[in-house]
Structure formats: structure tokens, C-alpha cells
Symmetry: C2
Subunit: 471 residues, 2 copies
Amino acid sequence: MNGSRINADGRRRRLVVVGGDAAGMSAASQARRLAPELEIVVLDLGPHISYAACGIPLLLDGTVVDPAVLTVYSPASARAERDLDVRTGHRVQTLDVRARKVGGVVVDTGEPFELDFDRLVLATGARPVRPPLPGVDLPGVFVVRRLQHGLDLRAELDARQPRRAVVAGAGFVGIDLAQALRARGLAVTLVKDRATPLLGLEPEVGAVAEEALVRNGCLLLRGAPLYGIDAGPDGHVSGVRAGGERLDADLVVLALGVRPCADLADQAGLRLGPKGAIDVSPCCQTSESAVYAAGDCATQVHRVTGRSAFITQALAANRQGRVAGANVALDLGGAAGQRQPRPEHPGALGTAVLKVFDAEVGRTGLTLAAAREEGYDAVVTVITDRTQPRYYPVGGPMKVALIAERRTGRLLGAQVAGHPGAAKRIDTLATALHAGLDLAALADLDLAYAPAFSPIRDPILVAARAALKRI
Amino acid sequence: MNGSRINADGRRRRLVVVGGDAAGMSAASQARRLAPELEIVVLDLGPHISYAACGIPLLLDGTVVDPAVLTVYSPASARAERDLDVRTGHRVQTLDVRARKVGGVVVDTGEPFELDFDRLVLATGARPVRPPLPGVDLPGVFVVRRLQHGLDLRAELDARQPRRAVVAGAGFVGIDLAQALRARGLAVTLVKDRATPLLGLEPEVGAVAEEALVRNGCLLLRGAPLYGIDAGPDGHVSGVRAGGERLDADLVVLALGVRPCADLADQAGLRLGPKGAIDVSPCCQTSESAVYAAGDCATQVHRVTGRSAFITQALAANRQGRVAGANVALDLGGAAGQRQPRPEHPGALGTAVLKVFDAEVGRTGLTLAAAREEGYDAVVTVITDRTQPRYYPVGGPMKVALIAERRTGRLLGAQVAGHPGAAKRIDTLATALHAGLDLAALADLDLAYAPAFSPIRDPILVAARAALKRI
């Protein structure tokens, strides 16, 4: 048994992980837990590993001052606590699957490096879309994805005290950043290329987010694709052109979505999936058996459709990382080597929630449009109810949208929006989706009631009953 | 078809409902909806029908002034909007199943009445336990179950301005009332007969409620059965004897649980079930085919055990009422007469939530003790986590307890407690219980994450993973 943990040349078996954020560090930690003898090297391009990217807006609005608060591991603590050889500032440029080698350069010194591996985990994440527009590289134009991005933007806010920001893109990230900038006192205009409802939600549900934005002083310009970014006399950004408008701005944030960082995998000939993400099995194995991939660079199984999808979320990234790490430990004969069957990622529903100033939104599963694209005969039902009963002093309106298959009544997706207390109700619907419940079962749930928390029939139950009449 | 809706003597077929609260009015409304030609008479002992009993504490603390706010129907609106012949102040004393007659007296006049029925729905509710102790009927001693009870207690608070209250019983009702009395400025001592944790929760979970009570100025005397209630020189209550203590009190509230009001059913020979509740089928039919029962007077199927249980909750009462009303409509040839199969009540989980000052608790399914009594090889896991991540400015600690079957990992029950945001998470666990998920599935749920709402792994996921290690 012990022999299998040593290579023919006598050195310890080695896992190399490319990328030290959620998925990568989860993979490394899990492999370490299950295979204590393994050598584990984590290579990351940037200076920071293992941070809560969703906390970056809190760095901007001043809620969090020390970025260390947002990190789970530093390179030093990862080494001390987990015996992980974390090497930051390493740009990986080459992957030779046959020879089981990665190579690249050390960013600071330009020095090349090369590293053998027995197993590789690619956890390279996703990169923000930067469209090839005039002015996209001007000073004052930012993307926010990695912790360093957040620190750079914060430094700009502190140093230049910008007054007018344009946020291009009104997705979860764009809206989150718009709030942080409003909290800093900036005038904020969100620019959205299409005229569709916010966040891919049903129109009535998306309107809740939109009203909250406008009520709290953000402008929203819809149907206005970004054409270009202009510089002022000082060479710094001075405005954007979007749709037919020219908007003044001394700060521009691009929040136009992300694409998987899959170049390395692509060059090495690994199979890619939807949106160019690295195609992986439920075990997170790529088309090459010695290479795993996890997190935002990889595909996931959508639990509703059962098909591969590109879903970028922290929880799913962590989980895929754990699965990849556990499978590596099995491959390399760690302590859990006997365990069967191999750990698999359960797939994801794309559950997401967002605070929008004094409102909340949440979604899970398929949207109506996505359900129809997937070939379901889908119907949507939207109801308005309240988070708490009208006579209770706390509470307000909330909406629930249920997307269901017409013939079977199977739940395909759901959305909630409204007053505080609305958003986390999406978990009930995510659980129902996970379990494959139909609308009749949903309407029968024994959900909690007390005036401080809910009307006697939770809005989810009201929605389920309304939806039953429509299928 | 039409002929079946008329009796041999030419009069319309008649449904009589005894009890005009949640279950009774739901039954009457549903029967009306499905069988417009039916004559429907609702008899209620008291003056009020169809009220939100859980809102009574809000009448006491001043949040709600007009009790009409807590009622869905008045007798007049029930007649006008639903064509329901609601007769308040009617005490039903006799039930002759064979002759299909109920009889009794009109409370105000003492006049007897008798009424034929084609179908009867018993929705007589439950009554608060009033143990046969010395002084239990003294002025200043209250129970709170019906709306009139709440109005009587409020009148006492307004008129006598009591200073020291003893609440006997520390269940959901006792704790809810204790808060209302504290809000009115009274000194409140809760007296609990046994030394067991609050609300039947796991000790660590119940402690959250207990700490909140004490932090907010309520005293809690445990292991102190009530022995008697004393009068002062004016004949009004002056204190209680509980355990070895004598406590001063100018107001005593008995919150010692409830028993089903099943005397009428018992006298008529209907079969009774657990705790003496009227035994009903999933269709809410009693042992006599012409008689249905619904709500707190009737048994319910516990969804975890599949067995009959006595569960008193507003949502379940409403649902049983609807089921009974729908089945009556089928029996008497209403418009939905063709619909098959017969509507059934899905059973209940006993899901309940309670605000305890600045804390929250929730439970669903079986407690550990109940699970073991039912013969399950059950194990409990309790974890402490946070409602939101530590770096987020809102949030605090919360606990999750999972009760699971050892061999199979099947979830049997769950409890949550902690900072605001904790309680409604019980809905996720109630949904998992409803769907029969095991711990592995629970740990795989795609629950919502954003710093404003949850740590990256919701505490439920953390608990599921911890529990998996213990089964």
C-alpha cells in the first residue's frame, strides 16, 4: 500500500493545483486530509489565495477594512496548518499532459519554472469579460473579480474621490458594486445592454430589484450596449458611450459577466464544454484521466436538466474542489483509497441571492426562457403576497415566481423578491427542486408560521396553489 | 345530477359545521366553492369566528388595537361573501349520528335548537388545560386560546394594571405571552413543571430561547409544578405556589397546553385517537361516514412516522378543513363530484417557529426523544455557526440540530435557534423532511449564499456534514 504512494524515482507522489481560490484550495485541503503523505503544490498567479470574492463590495463601502478578513488561508497559514506548498506569483503557461508537467514563469523575477505532477487540478477560475472597445484599458476603468481588483478599485476611490460612476452590466456583480459605490456617495448609473428584465428574472420579479435601485438613487439605462469609453484631457476616463447616450463618468466598472479561464486546458487538448468551460465528469475528471478541473473554469451538471452547464458560484466551486481533491487522493492511494464509490459532485441549481439596498431577490433552477430553450413545456406563475401578515408591524410585499412543466407539474425553477425576509425563502424552493418535487407536493409543505415570520400560508404555498391552477 | 343535491323531502342538502375558526371556516368555504347549491350552517359557541389566534399576543402588547384586524370573516361577511349561515352563540350539546341531527342551546336566550344535517364537520378545536388546583378559578387567572380570552386579558391589563405576572407553562404559547406582558412593563416569571429543555428542543438549542428570556428580563423557574393559586384579601389572585416556592403575582396566565374538544364526538360514539382527539382518515372522515372532523379536535397523520398524532397548528387546521369541505362537496354531489381521487390531507410535520425577544427558534419533525419513543435508532447532531459570515455587519450565532436515523441517515427532525434570520431556515429542513431526504442529500443542497444572507455554506449544510460523520 505504502509503495503506491511513492513514484518509481523514489519521490513522493505530487498533486499540483493551478489556482488557489475556492476550488483550488478546497481540492488541496481535501487531498491533504485524505492523503497525508502526498506532496501538494498550489500555484497561483496573484498574491492572494482563498478569499471570499462576494465580500469585495464590503471592502469598497468601508464595512471591511482589512482584506485579510475575507481570506480563509494565507500562503503561510496554508503551509503551516495544511502542509500545502503554496506558491503565489506563478503564471502557469504550459501543460504537457503526456509528460505530466506544467511550466511557466515567476511573475516578479521572470524566471521560468517547471513542475512534474502525478495528478493536476485546474482551478483557474473565470475572468471578467473586457470587450474590445475603444478606451477599455483607460485609467479609471475597472473590473472586479479577484481580491486584487477590489483593492485596486478601493485605492482609486480613496485617491481620486470619483463622483460619477458608470457600471456597465446589471447582473448580480454589477448591482452589488453599484450599491457599494452609492454607499461611498457616488452618483451611479447602471448601463444594461438589453431591455430584458434584471438578473434574468421574470419581469414582475426583476422589477422589484429595479425599483429598489431607482428608489435608492441609482439610474438604470436599459437597452444601451456599451460602444466605447472616452478619456478626458488628463488621459483618465471621462465618460462612456452607450446606446445613443454619452454619459459622464470619472469611474467605469465593467461587470459584463465572466468567461472560464480554460486556455491552458484548451492548448493541452482537453475537451471543453458549454461556454468553453473545461468539460468534467461528476468526479471532476477532465478528458485526460490525470487532470481534474473544478470551480468556475469547469462545467457543472445542472440538476434540473441533467446536462452540462457553465455556472459560476462559490459554493459549487468549493464542492467541486473537494470532489476533485478526494478523487486525487483515491487515485494516489491515500488513506481513503478503499472508499467506494468515487465522490461525485451533486450538480448545481444556480441558486443565488442578492440584497438590492432595502430589497432582496433570489433565484434557483431554470428561468422560463431557459426552461423553454431546454425543451420543456414550461409555464410561469407569479404571485404577490407578504413576508409577514399585514397586521404585523414588520414585513412588506414579496413576490414568488414558479416555473413548472405543464403536464407533470414538475418544478423547474423559482424566483423570489421583495421586502427583507424574502430572499432566503429561495432555499425552500432549491430544496424542492433538488428533491424533484412537483407543484402539488410544494403546496403541501408544512412551512413555518408565526406572525413574526410569515402569513399563515407562506407565500411559497400561495404560489404553488396558484401555479397548480395553471398547469 | 341535480336530483342528488336535493333530499327526499325536497329541501336542499345541508352541511353543518360545528366551530367557526380556522378548520371550520375553511371547510365551509371549500364546500361552498365546490358545491354552490349546498345549504351550509356554521355553529359557533363564541362571538368571534375565523381569527388568527397566533396574533393574540399582539392585542396584548398594543401592536394591534382592533381585533377585527385578526379576523378573516365576520359572521356578516361570511354570509355576504360566501353564503354561509353563521350562527354564533350556539352551544352544540347533542349529536345523533343515526338521525343526522345536532342539538343544543342558544347561549344568550337559553332556547334549545335542533338541526338536521346531511354531512357534519366537527371543528371544535382544543381547549386550554385548566388543572383542578386550588384557586384556578380566581379572578386574575387567565387562559389564552380564543380571541375572547385575549380580549378578556387585555381588559384586565387595562383596568387593573397588574405589576407581576406568573405564566405557568413555558411552551410556545407561554413564551409568546410572556413577551407581550414584558412589553406592557410587567415583571414576568415563567414557571415550568419539568426540568427538561424549553419547547422540547435539544438542550443546546433550547438554551438559546432560555438565554433570550432571561436577557430580556423574564425569570424562569424550572422543575416547579404548579400546586395552587392564592387569593389576596380582595379575593383577587395574589400569588402561586410552584415547586417549593411561593411567588407573588397579581396576574396568572395558565399556558399548560391544550386538549382536543372531543366530548360531543365521544358521546356520539365516534372513535378517538391519540390524546383523545377525534380519529380521522386522510380524507378527514371520522368513524362515521356522515361525520368529518378537522383541525385541533382531530388527529393528523405525522408525515415522518406515518402514524396518527395530535398536532395543533393553524396551517394544518386550515388544510384539514379544506379537505373535509372538499370531501363533503363530493359526497353531496357538488360541481367537483366527478373529481377523483378524493382529496386527502398530506399530514403534518409539526413545523413551528417562535420569536423570543431578540432570538428565534424553529422546529420540525420529531425530537430526539420522540424519535426514540417511535422506535427509531436516532442520533442528534448540534452545530453552532452564524446566520451571516463573521465579517458581515449584520448577523450572529445560530444553532442547528439534526435528528437522523443511524443506519439509513434519514432525516427525522430538525431544530434551529439563534440570531434573527435563523428561524425561517426551518422551512428548508421541513421541505427536506417532506421529501424524505437523507443527510447526504441535505449536505448536497444548493442553498443560497451571499454575505448579506449566509456564510458560504449555510449552517444547515454544515450541520448535515457534521451529522454524516455520526451516523
